[in-house]
Amino acid sequence: MTTDPLLSVEDLHVRFHTRAGLVEAVRGISFEVGREKLGIVGESGSGKSMTGRAILGLVPYPGEVKARRIVFDGVDLQTLSERQLREIRGKRISMVMQDPKFSLNPVMTVGEQVAEAYRIHSRVSASVAREKALEMLAAVRIRNPERVYDLYPHEVSGGMGQRVMIAMMLIPSPDLLIADEPTSALDVTVQMQVLAIIDDLVTRRGMGLIFVSHDLNLVASFCDRVAIMYAGRIVETCRASELKNAQHPYTRGLLASAPRIDDDREALPTLPRDPAWAEG
């Protein structure tokens, strides 16, 4: 499946120089993504979000990104100028963040923002962009896109807002979508509907997806492959369907510690952390 990877990352480091000293959020990880769904799973502080941001050069100050290679479609992203990177960002690689409320402009209607996202990368007239935006809103299963087009961000629900964000990110037809907990703030049924939209786009358009999440069970049922992060390292990568047979004690511990609906265990196993995992 990954004979021709879309993105290949080698030895990625993200460091923060703080008053308290050097903090390494990501410590030398390597992975590849093809036209598939790759899940990156970890607990808070594992470096999973920084990994997603580092690819697009969006690590906040005073963070510093170093990697041997971050090759996207044959080009090392690290060698590009900020202007060239902007060209790729949004058009070929898009990113969806957790909370739509912070990512949408509050004084522009959601439709205008989707149309704007299209016009930035393709020079078309306003009416063409509007048509395209309406089409995209329909594609993310917004009923009555004509009405929603003229709503402001505060007038739409969380689930709707996240669909608008996804429409915005997908309208330039990116080759790779990085989704950082795109559905964590949503109710579980809406979450599944939003995932179905992303799923269809991966299957239909052959898009690649990096899905960053804390929810191992969700990722296991949604993604093709899963990378488990712990303390800034990938401790294990496996096919999602084979997660049950995971080798690493951390992965096994994470799987076991979440209650299941058909659970009849007296106590949930907790996760004794072995310092050696952080080194391995």
């Binding site: 808070s44 994470l254 510690s257 979440a258 609906i261 659970d263």
Partner: protein
């Protein structure tokens, strides 16, 4: 049934006149002494609003609420708070940022003029699995799980009979969630506590509670035992949909989803 909590025809509205939104609409349930009762639903279902009405935080409701055998009005007297305490969702927002753990735990004792503050603080810290090392720390020196333990200790220090739990683990990592859920289960067994647990997580509620009420748009659509939920035998189609969505991603199942 020896009911610790009895709720009948509870209504809560926000706003006034024609614009009023009925957040809770005719909700009735009972919780026996020593039982763990779950209220589960999606955002806007009214589950947290029910809890705030029970706790006395929101005095604007109509209907009948009986707690510990006594009918409750909008305002509560001081002794009510010795019966019924609450644990909040966000461990980062529920502790005063300028107070040490010790001072946070002493406050309820000072309010109720209870003697032996020192001994009680030591005991309750021990009960929630935080040793004396944590006693004089500020909240910012604690992890999310440790903060939630402090919040539980604060709720327990008045030795209440009832704990109202508002999504107590939804802000925590799963491995930390497991520790807190184990702790809550153990404390209930040791102290014979009655729990009302509000959550959106079906797995958590199935693991923690004996009986579960499923809420949607301000109403209880179904009440069922945890046993039936574990065997995936809910009756109401909304509960079945919630269950399907909670088990994991299934492209086919999504097609069948409806709005309730």
């Amino acid at each position: 049934m020896d009911a610790m909590i009895r709720v009948k025809g509870l209504n809560v509205s926000f706003g006034e006149g024609g614009e009023a939104l009925r957040a809770v609409d005719g909700v009735s349930f009972q919780v026996a002494a020593g039982e763990s009762f779950g209220l589960v639903g999606e955002s806007g279902s009214g589950k947290s609003t029910v809890l705030r009405a029970l706790s006395g935080l929101n005095p604007n409701w109509t209907g009948e609420v009986e707690i510990g055998g006594e009918a409750q009005g909008g305002r509560r007297d001081k002794s009510f708070y010795k019966t019924c305490q609450m644990v909040f969702q966000d461990p980062y927002g529920s502790l005063h940022p300028r107070r040490t753990v010790d001072s946070i735990l002493r406050e309820p004792l000072a309010i109720h003029r209870l003697p032996d503050a020192d001994r009680r603080v030591t005991e309750v810290l021990d009960a929630v699995g935080l040793g004396p090392r944590f006693r004089y720390r500020y909240p910012h020196q604690l992890s999310g799980g440790q903060r939630q333990r402090v919040a539980i200790a604060r709720a327990l220090i008045l030795q209440p009979k009832i704990l109202l739990l508002d999504e107590p683990t939804s802000a925590l990592d799963v491995s930390v969630q497991a520790e807190i859920l184990n702790l809550l289960k153990r404390l209930r067994a040791e102290r014979g506590l009655t729990y009302v647990l509000v959550t959106h997580n079906l797995a958590v509620v199935a693991w923690m509670c004996e009986r579960i009420a499923v809420m949607n748009r301000g109403r209880i659509v179904e009440e069922l035992t945890a046993e039936r939920l574990r065997r995936a035998e809910p009756e109401h189609p909304y509960t079945r949909q919630l269950l399907a969505a909670s088990i994991g991603y299934d492209r086919q199942a999504v097609e069948t989803f409806q709005d309730y």
